[in-house]
């Protein structure tokens, strides 16, 4: 496997299919599911006998999460993550932050196992701005399959072209897990396969666990780093958090016990400082920068 590097000047990992498409591995994923009775104490009043399915890919993902605190270099995290992802039969993945509009993806990339030529094309043409998966990930908090992206994100002709080109490069079916780094910046792990995946709910949940914990370890290496760019005042952050939660300016004024015109003035200041056209863009920008967070 070629070495993994991060950030600017990253080299790609070419998909090494020989490491997983042996009969044994495919069998482990689809055929060898062990069953055992597993007694759980669900309440103090009753005991239920439960049947638990043990699927190696799921076990691998949970094992990654439960031992990842020991992974303290880029290389060890990447190696363990790669192994766990391959167990799901996935060919490609990328771990990245979100770029500002009309900007390259490259400086935000943490780990890159995307097909090389596709990645270079994507980065050079700033495809992220019109990529339905990327744009949906910017606005979503929960994991999704690429086929789940609403039609409105595919409306632009360029968006449809991007998805078609992805298929041509071997990215047929994929998942995207939007993430918060501890420094507040938003990012995602995208995973893809050359074939339809059809993961069960537990498998998708296990991928979510794998993505969350891997992202957290990468973030631990970077340390807490304040994102560069415009900073909101405390009051502005407060107002924008409530707007992002779906409150109207009037509702925000009630929650904060300030005048509605004051709320509106704060929003105008934020739009001006961020140089955006409307409040929705201000919210999206602030989410991307980590200026508003859930906690």
């Amino acid at each position: 496997m070629s070495p993994v590097h991060r950030g600017a000047g990253a080299t790609c990992i070419r998909a090494q299919t020989d490491s997983y498409t042996t009969g044994g591995d495919v069998g482990a994923r689809h055929g060898y599911m062990l069953r055992r009775d597993h007694r759980l104490a669900c309440t103090q009043r009753c005991r239920l006998a439960c049947v638990k399915l043990i699927v190696p890919a799921i076990e691998g993902a949970v094992a990654f999460a439960e031992t990842c605190e020991r992974l303290d270099t880029q290389e060890t995290i990447a190696k363990a993550f790669e192994e766990a992802v391959r167990a799901f039969g996935l060919d490609h993945y990328i771990v990245t932050g979100f770029p500002p509009p009309a900007s390259p993806l490259e400086p935000l990339v943490i780990l890159n196992a995307w097909p090389c030529e596709w990645y270079q094309r994507y980065d050079k043409n700033h495809y992220f701005d019109d990529d339905p998966v990327g744009q949906f990930a910017l606005r979503q908090t929960q994991p999704f399959r690429w086929s789940d992206v609403p039609g409105s994100f595919n409306a632009l002709r360029r968006s449809a072209v991007i998805m078609e080109e992805a298929k041509a490069f071997g990215l047929l079916d994929g998942y995207c897990i939007p993430l918060h780094s501890p420094s507040g910046g938003r990012g995602a792990i995208a995973l893809a396969a050359r074939h339809a995946t059809g993961f069960s709910a537990p498998e998708r949940a296990a991928l979510h666990v794998l993505a969350l914990t891997a992202f957290g370890r990468f973030a631990a290496l970077k340390g807490e780093v304040a994102a560069p760019g415009p900073r909101l005042s405390r009051r502005e952050r407060e107002v924008l958090t409530w707007i992002a939660a779906g409150k109207s300016a009037w509702e925000v004024s009630c929650i904060l016990s300030i005048a509605e015109r004051t709320v509106i003035a704060h929003l105008e200041n934020v739009r001006r400082r961020l140089d955006v056209a409307n409040t929705l863009q201000a919210v999206v920008t602030c989410i991307r920068l980590g200026e508003i967070q859930p906690f």
């Binding site: 309440t43 439960c50 979510h208 914990t213 994102a227 952050r237 967070q293 859930p294 906690f295």
Partner: protein
């Protein structure tokens, strides 16, 4: 200057004003911001059946003002996990002992959420929960949580135990998980958050005027 005050039944009278602010913030954040409308209360104070005299509330205060909080209780008593979400525990036994603490209702007020500065309120609360759990001789702390906490735990270097895979609850992926409580975990979170001094206080500081 942020302090994290440990409020128990014994000190609840001394902290009456701060506790009211804390419950008001829990209502604003859990009902109004997160949309967990089942928790809505007519008086605007979020309290549930687990806010018993045995519960311990950590209140993050800045100049006497509540800027964050969290609730801890022993799993030897009923918890949200045991009473409402036991089905989230698939991979092991439901924790039910004095050495496992249940951790819920974590919040940071919106104005004090920050993009990655060291010594944030969130960092103070994470460090304080670990410090408190260690001082209470617990070996695990955790419970029902939104899945995004896993990346926070991984970032501060905590060892996790996944009790079940995430499931959708009210539009968010939620799971049962615990982190190991030990000296290494405290060292790790202190190094990660920048809060290297002890933040825990056990009585109110009346030098600041109490504001809600």
């Amino acid at each position: 200057m942020i302090e994290v005050h440990v409020v128990t039944a014994e000190s609840s009278l001394a902290y009456a004003a701060e506790l009211e602010s804390y419950h008001r913030w829990r209502h604003l954040i859990y009902v109004e911001e997160r949309g967990w409308t089942d928790l809505r209360k007519p008086d605007g104070l979020e309290r549930d059946q687990f806010d018993t005299p045995q519960a311990v509330h950590l209140l993050a205060l800045e100049n006497g003002r509540v800027v964050g909080g969290s609730r801890l209780m022993q799993t030897s008593r009923p918890t949200i996990l045991s009473e409402v979400f036991p089905y989230l525990v698939e991979r092991s036994e439901l924790p039910s002992d004095d050495e496992t603490l249940d951790w819920t209702r974590m919040f940071v007020v919106p104005s004090h959420r920050g993009a990655g500065r060291p010594r944030s309120v969130r960092g103070a609360l994470l460090t304080s929960v670990m410090q408190y759990a260690l001082s209470a001789n617990a070996r695990r702390v955790g419970g029902v949580m939104e899945a995004f906490w896993l990346s926070q735990f991984a970032a501060v270097g905590w060892r996790m135990q996944i009790l079940g895979l995430p499931r959708p609850v009210a539009g968010a992926m939620v799971l049962a998980a615990f982190v190991a409580v030990d000296d290494a975990a405290l060292r790790s979170v202190r190094a990660s958050t920048g809060w290297t001094e002890s933040l825990l206080r056990y009585e109110p500081d009346r030098r600041h005027e109490v504001r809600t």
